[in-house]
């Protein structure tokens, strides 16, 4: 089983990644930065002098620099040519990378630290690498041994149980 066995999903993702251009992403990024810094400067005026003075002193030239970079990128013409298959494949790989990271976070939040990471490893190695169950068991087993040793026994950290409060400690 692999992601490539889901043609409709792949087609949808291809449509999205081919429409979004790098320039759009960068402009969005700069816009978010600008909003954030402007907010901080505006709030800075509302704080007592000792608290707000320095953020305003730093924030104003930062806003100017963001605007400079924004203008510089805004004047660059956007890509209009069709993506070739290599570029599309490249973007799909990138989208996959982002998706795996977000999936890991979602699993940790939902299932807890140990269970979430274990499920993540199983999904990754089965879907992406198509490991055999034996090889998968070895990798996941070694990971769990490491986690138990370092985080459970040595550091004795109360591991996050996720929104469902699933027990994470493994009886040793």
């Amino acid at each position: 089983m692999s992601i490539d066995d889901q043609p409709r999903l792949v087609e949808r993702v291809e449509t999205v990644v081919s429409r979004v251009t790098p320039r759009q992403i960068e402009l969005l990024f700069l816009t978010l930065l600008l909003i954030g810094v402007v907010y901080q400067v505006a709030r800075g005026f509302g704080y007592p002098r000792l608290a707000g003075h320095f953020p305003v002193v730093v924030g104003v030239p930062t806003i100017l620099m963001i605007l400079y970079v924004f203008r510089d990128r805004f004047t660059v013409s956007d890509e209009t040519t069709e993506l070739d298959s290599e570029e599309l494949q490249d973007r799909l790989l990138l989208a996959q990378g982002f998706a795996w990271v977000l999936l890991l976070f979602a699993l940790v939040v939902g299932l807890g630290l140990t269970v979430g990471c274990t499920v993540f490893l199983v999904l990754y190695y089965r879907l992406k690498r198509e490991f055999s169950w034996t090889r998968l068991a070895i990798y996941v087993g070694l990971f769990l041994v490491f986690v138990i040793l370092v985080f459970q026994l040595v550091l004795q950290i109360p591991l996050y149980g996720g929104v469902f409060g699933i027990p994470q400690s493994i009886p040793v």
């Binding site: 790098p22 030239p61 620099m65 795996w100 890991l104």
Partner: protein, 507 residues
């Protein structure tokens, strides 16, 4: 001096006796493991060891602490070299040249360089420490709040100008990073700033989740896209760790200059290994005949970072033991260890308890030698990681990073921050913004602000204090030189673009 030498000799005998040598070996192993795991590092290993050392003799405790510290530095270098994932904040700069060396199939050589430069750098720093103890007070008191302000500011400007990425974009990111550093409770003003209704940001944006996000997670995303293995060289003829050892001896000037910079920077409280490595690295860039090659696996650059990062401990110990002012975060925890065992920094530590201090120095020296030896012996095996398909490594890096981040404060929100900065980090890399400037701004922002306010308080509100002290003037001149270099560099970039109008840049 002769009594110091006698104490040193007897400390050496005690160090190699049982069970002290056992503590030393345990400390090295703990340090290596904690240093290699992103998010952990010497601060956490020491924090754990201090309560565990209850009931131990102070000398035995210092052996354990010192060896854990030494092992931690080298452990962090290993992951920085092999996976572009700095194990500790101080190893961020190790990724600049160490990881590109791995991609060229020279990971064993990089480990050899790191092991050698680190061990020798640490020894250098400790020797300087011993020699500087008589003049410690004068050196440390020469750096006040105005000097700290300029040093921190020059750090951000220098990295933004001389480091990776487009200059304007990098300086912009530096400003953004400073703004991010203002989030949280301000001790100067007694105000909780930019909390957006949550108590999570009371302590500000935590550095370690940001670093893990920007490096471990971003790198994992990059690897899914860019390579089948970290080692992208075509040849089976790989250099060995011993080639790395030889490289350090082939560049004595780079080594000694960097070790000196590291030791001196370590003397300045609050700066730490990251700044020492940065300054040393950029000095290597400036003095090179081929500065444009840096970032592609240049040996001199790597020697500079490793030597400075480890020699820094010797310098950082000085304000810690002399004044009780920790020279770095690790030293702050170590200070806690001193107090835990009834040792007070200051005159007593330099006179009545000098034997304990010397034991710590020897333990640091021993740990660096031992951990480097382990690195040299195992370097070949460790380097095989770079030849494993990255698809097999990526999920493990991600999972261990998540655990490491969570372990900091038992907070899932720290994991969220790491993931967020992991995604942002990829955007930064893709569009030629400097991740390093972002990290540096976060670290130095609080220092810059507090130094700014302290200076104004000391001068009664007069800004002249920033421009009238001799050391400050020297630092300002250095900054002017760096800006001049940048102006020249930007001009050359414009000229080359004018000459090739058909060249286009890809994101």
């Amino acid at each position: 001096m002769s009594s110091t030498l006698e104490l040193l000799a007897s400390a050496l005998v005690i160090l190699f006796s049982w069970p002290n040598i056992g503590f030393a070996i345990a400390g090295v192993i703990i340090g290596l493991v904690f240093g290699a795991i992103p998010g952990l590092g010497s601060v956490i290993s020491l924090s754990l060891l201090i309560p565990l050392s209850f009931g131990m003799e102070p000398t035995a405790a210092m052996i354990l602490f010192g060896t854990a510290m030494g092992g931690g530095k080298f452990g962090g270098s290993i992951t920085a070299i092999l996976m572009n994932t700095p194990g500790t904040a101080g190893n961020v700069v190790s990724t600049f040249e160490g990881y590109p060396l791995s991609k060229k199939g020279r990971s064993e050589e990089a480990i050899g360089i790191s092991a050698t430069a680190s061990a020798l750098g640490a020894l250098f720093g400790l020797v300087i420490l011993l020699l500087l103890i008589p003049v410690a007070e004068t050196i440390i008191l020469a750096f006040g709040a105005p000097e700290n302000f300029w040093i921190a500011l020059i750090g951000i400007v220098a990295v933004g100008i001389l480091g990776e990425g487009d200059i304007a974009k990098s300086l912009m990111i530096g400003g953004v990073a400073l703004m991010l550093s203002f989030i949280g409770y301000s001790g100067v003003a007694g105000v909780y700033r930019y909390g957006v209704g949550t108590q999570y940001l009371w302590d500000g944006i935590q550095l370690i989740p940001v670093i893990i996000g920007l490096f471990a997670i971003t790198e994992s995303i990059r690897l899914t896209r860019e390579a089948s293995t970290i080692d992208q060289s075509d040849t089976d003829d790989h250099s060995t760790v011993w080639d790395g050892v030889v490289q350090v001896f082939k560049h004595p000037i780079v080594f000694f200059r960097s070790a000196t910079i590291g030791t001196l920077v370590g003397l300045i409280p609050g700066l730490g290994g990251l700044i020492a490595s940065f300054i040393s690295y950029f000095q290597a860039v400036q003095s090179s005949s081929n500065p444009d090659a840096f970032g592609s696996g240049v040996v001199e650059g790597f020697i500079a970072t490793e030597a400075a990062n480890d020699s820094m401990d010797g310098g950082a110990l000085l304000p810690t033991v002399t004044f009780g002012i920790p020279g770095s975060p690790v030293m702050a925890v170590l200070l806690g260890g001193f107090l835990f065992h009834g040792l007070s920094p200051g005159l007593a530590l330099l006179t009545d308890d000098l034997d304990v201090l010397l034991m710590l120095v020897l333990a640091l020296a021993l740990s660096n030698v031992v951990s480097s030896t382990i690195g040299l012996l195992l370097g070949g095996k460790l380097a095989n990681i770079t030849r494993v398909p990255v698809d097999s490594i990526i999920p493990l890096i991600l999972a261990v990073s998540v655990f490491g981040v969570f372990a900091l404060r038992n907070s899932i929100l720290d994991v969220f921050v790491a993931v967020l900065f992991g995604l942002v980090g990829y955007v930064l890399v893709a569009f030629d913004y400097s991740r390093i400037t972002l990290v540096l701004g976060l670290i130095l922002g609080p220092l810059i602000e507090s130094a700014f306010h302290q200076s104004l308080q000391a001068s009664g509100g007069s800004y002249l204090i920033f421009f009238t002290r001799p050391v400050s003037v020297g630092i300002i001149i250095a900054m002017a030189v760096i800006i001049g270099v940048a102006y020249n560099k930007m001009g050359q970039q414009d000229i080359s673009m004018d000459q090739d109008p058909m060249d286009t840049e890809e994101a």
